[in-house]
Assembly symmetry: C2
Homo-oligomer: 77 residues x 2
């Protein structure tokens, strides 16, 4: 089954990459761009019998850093 995991920084964690992009968008002529945040999206195929608990285990142990990042799991089919 196709699965995608979106990993984003928790609220309150500094996001220098987002800030850099925001500044660059302003320089590019888009001064209205605000609250820019950058995250990761990991797409993968998993066997159909993979449980949500197993996917969470992958997220906590490998795909995200649970101290500073949140993750969201989306199973597509």
């Amino acid at each position: 089954m196709k699965t995608s995991v979106t990993v984003t920084l928790k609220k309150g964690v500094l996001d220098p990459q987002g800030k850099a992009i925001e500044g660059a968008l302003h320089s590019l002529g888009y001064p209205g761009a605000a609250n820019v945040h950058v995250g990761k999206v990991i797409t993968l195929d998993l066997p159909d019998d993979t449980s949500e608990a197993q996917i969470k285990d992958m997220c906590e142990k490998l795909l995200s850093n649970p101290v500073i990042e949140d993750y969201e799991i989306e199973v597509q089919s």
Copy 2:
């Protein structure tokens, strides 16, 4: 308006980060994980009168590298 842009590598472009994650998932006890790909998701607030052409301009000039990456725009509200 809340906008999110997902940037992924085009098909055929080597994805060493995805390969590394795939290998690590196998080591972690999930040998069924396959086709792992890693992309970026950029979320930002834009003025309500921002046109799709302007968002595409941001994507082509700054948010993605159109030579090796595809992007997908999603306007949430």
